[in-house]
Amino acid sequence: MARPGAFPWELFEALSNARGVTGDEGPVRRLLRDYLAPHADRMEVDAMGSLLVEKRGRRTGARVLLGAHMDEVGFMVVRIEKSGALRLQKVGGLDDRLLAGKRVRVGPQALPGVLGAKPPHLGQEEEASRTVKLEDMYADIGAADEAEARAHVRVGDTVTFDAAFEPWGAALVRGKAFDDRVGCALLAALVAGPSPADFVAAFTTQEEIGLRGARVAAQRFEPEVAVALEGTGAVDVPGKRLAALGAFPCLGRGPVLTRRDSTTISDPRLFELFERAAAAAGVRWQPKRPGIGGTDAGEYHRAGPGARAISVSVPCRYIHAPAALAARADIEATLELVRAALPKLAALQRPGGTPRENS
């Protein structure tokens, strides 16, 4: 039994292995519901499928929302060929270079499949050096023909990478969907632990195709302070060009704090609060590379009359791919940082309410 408040590694493993492509987050939601039932003061599933958990603490103040999204990038079956091959569409951002030859799981039965493409020696020479696009691939589940495939698969079934969570040496872990199951596990740990203040935990849906679940959750609660807990891309990988432009965030250098990404300019006071909390708790942090990526914070800060928002992330190499890597120490440090900041968030109320309330 892990000590209360420690990072729930077993839950994280189960969450990473669970299959929950955008719009099909049920299995992830069920895991979280079961885990959180003993700890939540109130729990519900909204019209978007987001799991909304209210947690009461010792103090009240500004309405605080902590969020993590349940969905992962993946694929959807769009056509079943005469041959039994499955044509797919991407769900969320996926890099074609990573796809051919990967093992996948198809539909609610989790049928094993492989992403097939025409072998290079059967094409023109220039074709062999070109990246095969998903539209020229298919999922092969070993069906002899269309009828056999249809017995197991329907158009609209979702497809995930087939990858099992595993330790990767002593310091790292490896698995799929760290974006954002690591955020889900962190948020679950915060709900399960003792809470210094009231907050709403929003386990959202459909982040990867446009922050759709977060928008509805934010409209519902109109938070004054919102924190998106995320898995974000680490780019500490070889490459001269990358070195010139800055190869960060890095694994092992602690939680990542965002000042600006493509959806949100973090509230300066909230950013400062996290900086101070990190210093006080002795947690080393690193900046997010500005201008790229986006999170549910993009909806949180614009909902209702506006909110202070920020993203706090665990650096992960190779996100949106079958094998992400993350450092155990970064994950634990991120939990420590958010836990240190949480009691202070409630003090960040909106200045004088909304302008209309002022009059």
Binding site: T263, I265, P355
Partner: protein
């Protein structure tokens, strides 16, 4: 107007860091409105109370710029864009940090000159080492263009006229607005250039019954440009449509009637660029919807360091906005 516009153009305020512009606006509207209040995102609401229709007029305070993404071991600064920065217009320009420190933007010497991208550029702030750089700048800091305004005849040239010229229009309108039957909120918004992020919460809070955005628009009166029926000096534009908003027909017709009554030079404006729009693009969709129009200031070279407007168009926009706010908008059907 020239002096006000110079001050606003020179102010420092990339998206998300509009504080200096907001302080300037506060100073300039003081005494001409009943209340001035900032919301959580930094939107500034200058309000003239009234019993009539709640009307929101928006002009954005932020300007485009760059954000520091990396400081290299020799102190050169790599950056990414804040808003619609065009790489081909950036090389050899200067950018300014909040501290006032100025950097020269250059392209890497090696590389494909045809393929101009921000990640092939850097800013040289004169730092002699990474350690010196670290004392002045860190990842996430922003900078805006650095360029003094110039007035020649009726033409005003400067940085950030998108949308400081509209801030000037709203300030001047507040000064000239004598009596209004409406409940007027002049909203100086934040973060327009990164996706109209300020206007949405501001409109939600104010719950207006009718709204106007005041912003710059492009022109079709320069050599070899896209076809567009807007010219500098031909008066303020009355928006028909842009990439994110169709001017509400009743607002548009009211603006046209007012312009004709004032014998004001004006032009109908269609901005046929898919991604170009104004704060009206979000305001009109807030809550149950807000009939929204847009008064446009024709502007050449938008998003360059030398945006050019005609001061007669600016004056026309002020008169049109004042006339709109003096109209009993309840009686006008809003």
């Amino acid at each position: 107007m020239k002096e006000l516009l110079s001050e606003l153009s020179s102010a420092w305020g990339p998206s998300g860091e509009e504080g200096q512009v907001a302080a300037l606006v506060r100073r300039r509207v003081r005494g001409h409105v009943d209340t001035v209040a900032a919301d959580v995102l930094g939107n500034l609401v200058a309000r003239r109370r009234g019993k009539g229709a709640r009307v929101m007029v928006a002009a954005h305070m932020d300007e485009i710029g760059v954000v520091v993404s990396h400081v290299d071991p020799r102190g050169f600064v790599r950056f990414s864009n804040v808003g619609g920065v065009m790489a081909n217009l950036l090389a050899a320009q200067r950018v300014r940090l909040k501290s006032g420190r100025v950097g020269v933007v250059m392209e890497e010497e090696r590389g494909n000159k045809e393929d101009q991208k921000l990640d092939r550029m850097y800013a040289d702030f004169g730092f002699e080492s990474a350690a010196e750089a670290a004392r002045h700048v860190r990842v996430g800091d922003v900078a805006c263009f650095d360029r003094e305004p110039v007035v020649q005849g009726h033409r005003f040239v400067g940085k950030a006229l998108d949308d400081r010229v509209a801030c000037a229009v709203l300030i001047e309108a507040a000064r000239r607005l004598k009596r209004t039957p409406n409940d007027v909120s002049l909203v100086f918004t934040v973060q327009e250039e990164v996706g109209c992020r300020g206007a949405q919460p501001a409109a939600f809070a104010l719950d207006p019954e009718v709204a106007l955005a005041v912003d710059v628009t492009l022109t079709g009166d320069v050599p070899e440009c896209r076809p567009m029926a807007v010219s500098l000096g031909a008066g303020p534009g009355i928006k028909v449509k842009d990439g994110g908003h169709i001017g509400h027909p009743r607002v548009r017709e009211l603006l046209l009637r007012l312009a004709r009554r004032l014998r004001l030079k004006h032009q109908l404006e269609v901005l046929a660029l898919e991604r170009a729009s104004t704060d009206a693009s979000v305001i009109h969709k807030v809550r149950a919807g807000v009939p929204s129009g847009c008064v446009s200031i024709p502007c050449r070279y938008v998003h360059s360091v030398s945006e050019m407007v005609d001061l007669r168009d600016v004056e026309g926009a002020v008169r049109l906005v004042v006339a709109f706010l003096e109209t009993d908008l309840r009686k006008a059907g809003f």
